[in-house]
Amino acid sequence: MTLANDTPTALSAAAIAQAGSRRLQRLAMGVFCIFALGLPFVASGYHLFQFAQVLIYAIALLGLNILTGYNGQISLGHGAFYAIGGYAMAILATKFDVPYWATIPVSGLICFVAGFLFGLPALRLGGLYLALATFALAVATPQLLNYRGFDAWTGGSQGLQLGKPHAPFALPLTSDQWLYFLCLVCAALMFWAAANLVRGRIGRAIIAIRDHPIAAETMGINISFYKAMCFGVSALYAGVAGALGSIVVGFISPDSFGLFLSLSFLVGIVVGGLASIWGVLFGALFIEFVPNYADQLSDLFGESAKALPGAIYGILLIGLMYLMPTGVAGVIRTAPGLLSRLFSRPKRV
């Protein structure tokens, strides 16, 4: 009986809380938009470059989170797809004279195909084996990019040099500002697409596959198709990010695509929150700025400062799994409820 009596009030309380968090969400969005749009006019060139890099990482993390967070397929090798995207862009731009903006979707499509093909055999692998295979991919990537047979295309260990593009249509923007806005527009598109993907029918299907594959299959979800597609889409995100990365950096070489990059991506989605769309922004901020600040500490620690990012990443990975497995996004999601429970007086019934 108590249950029946409680339900309406509980429901309305939940509805109010939800409406409140909606409003909060909108507010946060607004503040974020103002910040993102205003930044280029206050920040210096180098800081702008860093924030462009944050947006790029955010796109890559988004892709990894669709695969690992939402679909439950563990990838330790997303740096490889990031590398393919970056190289596709650089090769198209330098060898085929494709305009740089046109290389972004093409790189994404190339990575989609690569990811789909890698995802096909991956279908047969359970979580752990997939982690193994992708780990191997991550370790082997720099060597493959260095391969002498591809030298004519990839420039070998020398890498490829790209010019920095200028703002089109005589817009009164510096090169850095223009590149930042380019990344911002791409990121906005990719976030919008990901949010819709995850919220819709396909999103529910891929989450169902993660939570209970057998039940999902009995509900008529074509598991192999969705898993391979998921891998493809996820690689597409990494590829777009990689292409933007080589545009912004203006240079590409095999050394930047080692295991550490792939593991940074993993750190990024864990920090931001597994299975969260907006959380990846925090993850991206984290993996962009932590190695940076560690570099600045090298005056203090000397050469051993090189070890700092790895140590912080490692401790955080384990610590977060202990303390807040849902990452920053999870904390933000639950914090209002926790706070209101802490501060509101318990009602007497």
Partner: protein, 290 residues
């Protein structure tokens, strides 16, 4: 012809090292059905510990033995402190924890011992064994050590009560607990043994690949390939797989793909085996009841 034989034999020497590390991986896999991504970095760290002791004047074999003991204790502590709280966590969580361990060991080694490459002396006298010209003395010695490790591990699991208890705990934890085996401690001992065995692999590999914080990354990858090829739930299969991968890698590196992209051999083996025959050559095929 002699060049080919030379490649095969030095492949066998490296293969022995892969086999030992693969054995360490299998030891943890059998008990927990998890692959320890930090196994290589743990072995690397043990090797640095051995290097520090030898550098301070300790005789090689004393340092060797002490390193194995310390690694055993270290492995047990890691299981008790870091891994235990995640005993029932999903695979993704545990893989993330393993990656965390990998990063921590790598950076602590870099911080404490710096990233400059060090030489690590071989314990074997510089004279070629039995006048053979195909293998260096260290390669012959490494193969011998591999066989010694395999024999010891076999004897431990086959003839000692503790080995029997560990096998029981791995196979059926619930029943083992009912007959009085402390399953949790068996797991910790398994981790300790894996760390100790890995330390041997590290110390045998260091004279060949030199000592630096990233030395075990490639070796771990080949050990993965060996374990997967032989069947990751079968120690002997993993050992044979390790030797096979060592030879394949050397021959492919010399004649097929060139030495610069040898690591992709491991990638191809791992993906190929998992696609064609996921249980490996000697593994059992698992059938899950729905």
């Amino acid at each position: 012809m002699s060049a080919l034989l030379h490649q095969i034999f030095s492949g066998l020497a490296m293969g022995g090292i892969y086999a030992i590390l693969a054995l360490a991986l299998v030891m943890i896999y059998q008990a927990t059905h998890l692959v320890n991504f930090a196994q290589g970095e743990m072995a690397m760290f043990s090797t640095y510990v051995a290097w520090e002791m030898i550098d301070s004047g300790m005789p090689y074999w004393a340092a060797f033995a002490l390193t194995i003991v310390l690694s055993f204790i270290g492995g047990m502590l890691i299981e008790r402190i870091v891994i235990r709280p995640f005993a029932h966590a999903p695979v993704l969580t545990i893989v993330i924890v393993f990656i965390g361990l990998l990063l921590i060991f790598n950076s602590v080694a870099g911080w404490r011992y710096s990233y400059t490459i060090k030489t690590f002396d071989s314990p074997f006298p510089d004279k070629r064994w039995f006048g053979n010209t195909l293998m260096s003395s260290h390669e012959s010695g490494a193969i011998l050590v591999t066989f010694a490790v395999l024999a010891l591990v076999y004897a431990f699991f086959r003839f000692t009560p503790l080995g029997l208890a560990m096998r029981a705990a791995a196979q059926n934890p619930a029943s083992s607990r009912l007959v009085g085996i402390r399953v949790g401690w068996m797991l910790a001992i398994g981790w300790g043994l894996a760390a100790a065995i890995g330390a041997v692999a590290g110390m045998m590999a260091a004279p060949i690949v030199y000592l630096d914080p990233n030395m075990m990354l490639g070796i771990l990858l080949y050990a993965f390939a060996g374990a997967v090829l032989g069947g990751i739930d079968n120690p002997w299969g993993a050992a044979i797989g390790g030797f096979t991968v060592g030879v394949l890698e050397n021959i492919a590196g010399a004649y097929v793909v060139g030495p610069e992209i040898k690591l992709s051999v491991a990638l191809v083996i791992i993906v190929g085996v998992l696609v064609v025959r996921p249980s490996g050559l000697f593994g059992r095929t698992l059938v899950t009841r729905v």
